[in-house]
């Protein structure tokens, strides 16, 4: 799946909010009809970042975003370009802020990583992008009494500039992506 990010080729927004924290757009899907995708940029909290803005997207079901939904977009490049355009619009309104994108599972985290790498030149015209190895992996399906089998680096917030170079090994996979306006 080769995703090309282009802010000139996006789906039009159906709804927006004045503070640019919620957007919707329709994306045609392979199994028929368009699906309305909701993008939210919401305040979240971590002991390391403190308050930060988290970007999430997916179909809205009963007022909640399902970011695990498997959507077969007709034009994946256009859908992802629209999602990232929401983040870009938010940052243009809040130029001092940064937003984070969390790969909701390993597959998605790797997919986002590849999108950033493949669109390195284009994205770096608009954003400063960092990848973080993050303790987020811990909270997924882990009981707090479980023995921890993890890389200590994942317990410390370490931002790395994402380079346009191949992924060397599994450990270099970032699972959280941070975007600042350039």
């Amino acid at each position: 799946m080769h995703v090309v990010i282009n802010f000139e080729d996006t789906y039009p927004f159906e709804t927006v909010t004045p503070d640019r924290t919620k957007f919707t757009f329709n994306s045609p899907v392979l199994n028929g009809g368009p699906v309305t995708i909701t993008v939210t940029i919401k305040s979240a909290f971590s002991p390391f970042f403190m308050e930060f803005m988290n970007l999430a997207f997916g179909p809205e079901i009963e007022g909640q975003i399902d970011d695990f939904a498997a959507i077969r977009h007709v034009n994946l490049s256009k859908a992802f370009s629209t999602v990232l355009l929401c983040g870009y619009d938010y940052l243009k309104f809040n130029p001092e802020a940064f937003i984070g994108m969390d790969g909701s599972d390993f597959r998605r985290a790797y997919f986002y990583f590849r999108i950033i790498q493949r669109n390195y030149e284009y994205l770096h015209q608009h954003f400063r992008i960092y990848g973080a190895k993050f303790y987020v992996r811990l909270v997924r399906g882990q009981d707090k009494n479980d023995y921890l089998k993890i890389d200590p680096e994942e317990l410390i917030y370490l931002p790395y500039q994402i380079e346009n170079s191949p992924l060397i090994d599994h450990k270099s996979l970032y699972n959280y992506f941070i975007l600042y306006l350039k």
């Binding site: 039009p12 927004f13 159906e14 640019r20 909290f45 909640q64 695990f68 619009d89 909270v139 317990l155």
Partner: protein, 70 residues
């Protein structure tokens, strides 16, 4: 450092209206993501304390390992 200009709403709205003249302003709030996001978990003091404790423990282990290697 110079504070950067924030794009005014009118400018933004005119731009999105060009792409879709029927675009609406909708302030309906969205609840958290369907899954229990780590961000939500982190709002709990108990969780935050747990991770800080783990972090300190791992840093200590790392320090001890480094000292042994020396």
């Amino acid at each position: 450092m110079e504070k950067r200009r924030s794009e005014p709403f009118e400018e933004f709205f005119n731009r999105v209206k060009k792409a879709n003249p029927n675009v609406r302003i909708d302030n309906t709030p969205v609840k958290s993501n369907k899954r229990d996001s780590f961000a939500e978990n982190m709002k709990s003091q108990e969780q935050a304390d747990f991770f800080m404790k783990m972090l300190k423990m791992l840093q200590q282990e790392q320090k001890e390992k480094e000292q042994k290697e020396k």
